[in-house]
């Protein structure tokens, strides 16, 4: 008998059907991968399973017994554990406190910390999940926090463990460690649902893959019968190929950072002695686990704040102090990290967002003082057509656009003034496959026209597919940029984890590793 059985689960949000009569089953010791694009309904389904949402129709059975819908408590006591994509931990509390909350009767005069500590230590050693029970969560690395989340589920005797995009925040090595842990857990009979959109991970860890598209299961395959292209096609529903860069000789430097530092050098995310050169016809990728200074670097180059020492040269001109207006007028195009928060104003109309970086030019204003609405709307219409922004027209509200179309709007705004430098911070995060291909094509075309591009991404695969050079950020420091292809994923992963030794003697080590990779 399967340990978990979902029957005919349907969930609607208004007119959107997030889950459409989904049937799934899961056996003991099995890893089921749930594959799907963003917005396909994976997270909604798991939130129903964990009792965060209540399904409109359908039934969940654990060991053949129906599960009370809409109750987290019932789900936990039935043996379901969930590791959320965004960890549900309290930063200022200790590991032990985070794990024991809710495991004891609330109305009691004391906590049984001693027994809890004993159980936790015993569990840690049994599953190889080493953690200091008295450490505060704020002091732990992301990998360790995930360990706490898994322990939290195991502490409550979970038999079904749900992992929602668990590798999104990990270095490649940490991801390998996680897979090791998961294998030892399934060997002990735990059933795992692994949610991801990364194909190679799914192929590496799962026994069976269920593919979700637009809220419905569109196929189920045994992993041994699947390969990347089959899964990709099932997930997207059509064949979409991402663009590949053609080789091109780089030109003169457009942006040069020398020894740039920002204040508060004590925190791991303030910039320390950054050296970076970006040439025309070149994409330089910045790799790193989020929170290591990428946001600060992006803010600096957007003109949002100032550096305290070092020099920044744009097109051969030294910038003493930077403002956003300077950067725009000097031809810097920006794609911000969070397109909803800092990319557009959702409540404003599309044309307003499209011209918001270009308010004083002749194309949108009279004498640079009064906004010329009809000219601005004309211009917006041109951009909408040129960049294929799917919308009801320039007067529609921006927040009604899909993520991909909002990103197209931002691209249109950044690319239309013919910039010489583009700052692209996580430009494809959370987009569907079609939009990803579109954005990447636009960036590569800009590079071919002679634009220098700084590409910040947490997705190593993306960086390795697009960049000419890659540099790694760790604790506010930036490694020297190396030619893409001169280092393996494993080597870059070590650099992302801050292991300095791997930074040295790069050419030989890199070459050897490359040969090794080819030999395989």
């Amino acid at each position: 008998m399967p340990v978990l059985q979902l029957r005919n689960i349907t969930k609607r949000f208004g007119s959107l059907t997030a889950n459409d009569s989904i049937d799934l089953s899961l056996a003991r010791g099995e890893v089921l991968a749930l594959l799907g694009e963003n917005g396909a309904g994976k997270t909604t389904l798991m939130n129903i399973l964990f009792g965060h949402y209540r399904a409109d129709e359908g039934l969940i059975e654990i060991d053949g017994k129906p599960l009370l819908p809409g109750s987290t408590e019932a789900a936990i006591s039935a043996g379901i554990g969930m590791v959320h994509q965004h960890f549900t931990l309290a930063d200022n509390l200790t590991v032990l406190e985070n794990i024991t909350l809710g495991t004891e009767p609330l109305w009691s005069w004391r906590q049984n910390s001693k027994a809890a500590r004993q159980k936790l230590t015993q569990m840690s050693s049994e599953f190889g999940l080493v953690i200091n029970p008295d450490a505060e969560i704020a002091d732990l690395s992301v990998g360790e926090r995930q360990r706490v989340e898994i322990l939290k589920a195991l502490y409550r005797d979970a038999r079904v463990l749900i992992l929602d995009e668990p590798t999104a925040v990990l270095t490649p090595q940490e991801a390998d460690d996680l897979f090791e842990t998961l294998r030892s857990l399934t060997a002990k009979g735990l059933a795992i649902i692994f949610i991801s959109h990364k194909l190679h991970e799914i192929l590496a860890i799962s026994n069976r893959v269920a593919v979700l598209r637009r809220g419905a299961i569109v196929g189920e395959v045994k992993t041994e019968n699947a390969d990347k292209s089959l899964l990709a096609e099932m997930m997207v529903g059509e064949k979409i190929t991402r663009p590949t860069p053609r080789s091109i000789k780089h030109g003169k430097a457009v942006l040069r950072l020398e020894n740039v530092s920002t204040k508060g050098a004590a925190t791991s995310s303030s910039l320390q002695n950054i050296d970076l050169i970006i040439n025309a016809h070149e994409i330089v990728g910045i790799a790193g686990v989020s929170g290591n200074g990428q946001a600060e670097l992006a803010d600096l180059l957007s003109g949002l704040y100032q550096h305290d020492s070092g020099s920044i040269e744009l097109l051969g001109e030294n910038l003493k102090s930077i403002s956003t207006r300077d950067m725009l007028s000097r031809g810097v195009g920006r794609i911000p990290e969070d397109r909803h928060k800092s990319g557009v104003v959702g409540d404003m109309q599309i044309w307003e967002n499209l011209i918001s970086e270009d308010l004083r030019s002749k194309t949108t204003s009279k004498f640079g003082i009064f906004l010329d609405k009809s000219k601005a709307i004309n211009r917006a219409e041109d951009l909408i057509a040129k960049y294929d922004i799917r919308c009801k027209g320039p007067l529609a509200e921006t927040k009604l656009l899909s993520g991909g179309n909002i990103q197209k709007l931002i691209l249109a705004r950044a690319l239309s003034p013919n910039p010489s430098f583009i700052l692209a911070n996580q430009p494809v995060r959370g987009l569907d496959e079609g939009a990803i291909a579109y954005v990447q094509t636009q960036l590569l075309e800009a590079r071919d026209r002679g634009v220098g591009i700084l590409l910040i991404s947490e997705d190593l695969d993306e960086l390795m597919a697009l960049s000419d050079k890659i540099a790694v950020m760790y604790h506010g420091k930036l490694s020297p940029a190396f030619e893409n292809g001169s280092k393996t994923i494993a080597e870059i992963g070590l650099m992302m984890a801050g292991q300095e030794s791997s930074l040295k003697g790069t050419p030989q080590a890199g070459a050897v590793a490359m040969e090794g990779a080819h030999a395989n």
């Binding site: 965060h52 987290t72 959320h84 406190e97």
Partner: protein
């Protein structure tokens, strides 16, 4: 200079400090419990006012003193529940709701007072809590008179400090309260009802605030008149920040403020001090509190989910 030193060394000064600190302790601990659960309660000024009125009125209408304290706490708890409905269940602005509760609580207190005593020109009096000397302990030098010769409500206030600390740090419900203020999603993910935990914390915290108000009419004075809370609630809100949301530090902060208050009253009376206008002494506690706060609050570990409403099933 010697005169000022003499003030601090006198037993009377310390006794006064302990007396002044009592309502501040109730108020600060009450606010602290609310904020640790993630809810700012700016209704404190109004809740203290209504506590002061309710407790006093209970006794004036013939009830006994402890009954008055319980009645004040109940009324305070009801106002806390009102605050919780708006801020916790409906997720409305905690600032606006809190100020609304303060205005409503204060006005309602005066309204009820006037309605029940329409013709009173001089505020009528009750027999308040009397000093209770704790056997043996009150015979100790200095502390005997300063600490152990106070009214029972003061002892209750001092007792509340370790009690609230123990509740927050050592019991499962305290852990749930702290976690609700840090990351309500985590509480939800462990199968505990966040809304219930937060509501409970606001109700209990507000009841404590109301007892703080009742202390003023039933222990410090013997009458109720308009404007008698006089900003003490706001001081408590500031003290919580000063204390970095810790009960022990909250006590120290309240003692500092009360000490300055007791000091300024005495300093005004010293001969030769009159060259400085008395208003200067009046503002002294507030200025020094602000300065102390600047230093104390900078490194405070504030509850991460303070002011953030939690809605069940919302996408995270």
């Amino acid at each position: 200079m010697m005169d000022l030193l003499e003030i601090i060394l006198s037993t009377g000064f310390w006794a006064a400090t302990i007396r002044i600190v009592s309502p501040l302790i109730f108020g600060t601990l009450g606010e602290l419990i609310c904020e640790r659960a993630g809810v700012l309660n700016l209704g404190i000024e109004g809740i203290m006012t209504i506590g002061a009125m309710a407790g006093w009125m209970w006794v004036y209408q013939g009830g006994d003193l402890w009954g008055g304290v319980i009645f004040a706490a109940t009324v305070g708890g009801i106002f806390g529940f009102l605050h919780a409905i708006f801020t916790v269940h409906l997720g409305l602005s905690q600032h606006v709701t809190g100020i609304g509760i303060t205005l409503f609580g204060s006005s309602l207190s005066y309204f009820v007072y006037r309605m029940l005593l329409p013709s009173a020109t001089t505020p009528p009096k009750i027999v308040p809590f009397q000093t209770y000397k704790i056997p043996y302990l009150s015979d100790l030098p200095v502390v005997g008179e300063a600490v152990f010769s106070q009214t029972p409500l003061t002892y209750l206030a001092l007792l509340c400090v370790p009690l609230v600390w123990y509740m927050l740090q050592r019991t499962p419900i305290g852990l749930a309260v702290r976690m609700a203020g840090e990351n309500p999603v985590a509480v939800e993910a462990q199968g505990i009802n966040v809304l219930a935990v937060r509501t409970g914390a606001v109700v209990v915290g507000s009841a404590l605030m109301a007892i703080g108000g009742a202390f003023i009419t039933m222990s410090a004075f013997d009458a109720f008149f308009f404007g008698m809370i006089n900003g003490r609630g706001w001081i408590c809100v500031a003290l919580v920040i000063f204390a970095s949301w810790r009960p022990g530090k909250a006590f120290l902060g309240a003692m500092l403020f009360a000490g300055l208050e007791a000091f300024q009253v005495r300093a005004q009376q010293i001969t030769g001090a009159s060259i400085i206008p008395y208003q200067f002494y009046l503002m002294l506690p507030y200025i020094l509190s602000i300065v102390a706060m600047v230093f104390m609050a900078r490194k405070a570990k504030y509850p991460h989910a303070l002011l953030v409403p939690f809605r069940r099933g919302e996408r995270v």
